[in-house]
């Protein structure tokens, strides 16, 4: 029983981190109606931006996370402008496939600069806290809190600010928003910046959790897609629910199958779930 509680705690912590890039994927989808698969490489860009800030420049983790947000966001906007925007007229699938190639380009820029070596961030090793027999790492708690803070900040931006409302208006109906004087192109840029910035934050959180190498994004991206799809493409609350469910499913599945299969289990679960909800749990499009 204790083991189940331990896995539930681990699952919520892992799920919160998965939810961050899943929100990023979904906010881009909501405003642009495209799947941008280059999010995996932008997770890696964020991880290396964090590494550069933290290890090479000696900044504390919170500033490294901020740097990762800004750099991944900017890289996302620039690459979207150069590679994907000219293709929007050819349909969502053409853009999605091009974003796979873009992912390869970005990942290899990172590899060209930093090589394939596995690096770790400069954080102290700390003893786990133990509550009633359940182990919790202080670093994991820090990562969890950062993930929650990033999500709360994004929700507040979307819910309470004029620009957030404008962005949701574009997501809802671009033509109508345009009539009201909102520039959809500007909102698209902002959505890509915020979405890929979230991917960058996730990159540092994953790096703090494990280590940095150019495939850091590719390793988790399947779970991120699973979370985004399960919650419903384009739905922000859906991405959070999806992230938590996938995190829990991956952890709990270790009770019955070897841990190596956990990402396959997560994905198999969503294929079953999609048979029941073909548009995700909270999706409406």
């Amino acid at each position: 029983m204790l083991q189940v509680f331990q896995l539930l705690v681990n699952g919520v912590m892992a799920g919160a981190i998965l939810a961050v890039p899943a929100i990023g994927f979904n906010i881009v989808f909501a405003v642009l109606q495209i799947s941008n698969f280059s999010i995996a490489a932008l997770i890696a860009v964020g991880a290396y931006a964090g590494y550069t800030a933290n290890v090479l420049l000696g900044l504390p983790p919170l500033l490294a996370i901020l740097a990762a947000f800004l750099i991944s966001g900017a890289a996302g906007v620039a690459s979207d402008r150069l590679a994907l925007r000219p293709l929007r007229g050819y349909g969502a699938i053409a853009v999605a496939i091009a974003s796979l190639a873009l992912n390869m380009v970005l990942e290899n820029i990172v590899r060209f600069i930093f090589g394939n070596d596995v690096r770790s961030l400069d954080v102290p090793m700390m003893r786990d806290w133990i509550f009633e027999g359940i182990h919790v790492g202080p670093q994991a708690v820090f990562n969890f809190l950062v993930a929650i803070a990033a999500m709360v900040a994004l929700f507040s931006l979307l819910s309470f600010t004029t620009v957030g409302r404008a962005m949701r208006a574009v997501a809802d109906n671009p033509t109508l928003a345009n009539i009201k004087g909102i520039d959809p192109e500007k909102m698209a840029r902002l959505a890509v910046f915020l979405g890929m910035g979230m991917a960058g934050i996730a990159g540092v959180l994953l790096a703090l959790d494990t280590a940095v190498d150019p495939t850091i994004g590719m390793r988790v991206v399947l779970s991120v897609f699973a979370a985004a799809v399960l919650g419903g493409l384009g739905s922000i609350p859906g991405a959070v629910v999806g992230g938590l469910l996938i995190g829990l499913a991956e952890q709990l599945s270790t009770l019955v199958v070897p841990v190596a299969y956990s990402s396959a289990i997560g994905f198999a679960a969503i294929i079953l779930a999609l048979l029941l909800f073909p548009r995700g749990i909270l999706g409406d499009r």
């Binding site: 380009v105 060209f112 799809v229």
Partner: protein, 303 residues
Amino acid sequence: MISYLVALLTFGAIYALLALGLNLMWGIAGMVNLGILGYYALGGYSSALLTMHLGIPVWLGVIAGALITALFGAATCIGLVKLRDDYLAIVTLGFAEVMRNIAENFVSLTNGTDGLAQIPRPRLGVTGSDFNVVYLVICVMVVLVVLAAMERLRAAPFGRVLRALRADPMVAASAGKNVLGFQVRTLAVGGFVLGLGGALYAHYLTYISPEVFQPQLMIYVFLALILGGRGNNYGAVLGTVLVLAIVEGTRFLADLVHGLDAVQIGALRAFVIGVAFIVVLQKRPHGLLPEPRRIYTDPAARS
């Protein structure tokens, strides 16, 4: 140099099968499938395991591998058709990852990341470099047969229905077409072609491992199809030849730039290929050989 060219062309023929299979599914029937490597690997692993453990003849194994993949394609179709394009893209991408996960971890069957070695080669009565040449000829003949079959399918009423499905499944359904039936058959036939490619690969290299799932390969196949002309079977083959030329051409980048280590050269190659893909999509979205379009002429106005 000759043996390098022979090997290159053999892989080219195998990749052309991938492009032809994808062309049927996505180019003609409009079902985007980012999981093609899952089918490719399934064909390779099935044929390898059947010939290694049951001792059945290689060519029978190849056919069996392709048939298993065809059945599997039909089965995946049942689960996928309800999904819209965007969901389909992500789910099929994930499907290939799940297959890779299984190939890496189901050690008792697949031997994990070490892969299956000593897969039997077909007996062709020749050995060494002669074997490679004969095998190349066989692969090219398979490509030609598949190409001819795909062209027949495309021109047949079956192909016409698939193009209608691509344009709008709802309209096809209201014209009395059994949409699911056509989609299942498409994924079965496409799966057969992809599995055939995988089986030919396994028995050529005599080795198969989870490395067949390298994401670049999927990008190459899509690039081949888009460069050649999506929807055009000849374009799929032409595109494969061109992509192979680009990919192999970047090998010589290593000679042009100095002072880079192996990792950087690999990264630079992948970078160049990725950029080439995006440029082709932007400049030639319909490819070099666009799909032949039939222009409707009003019968009344014809005479």
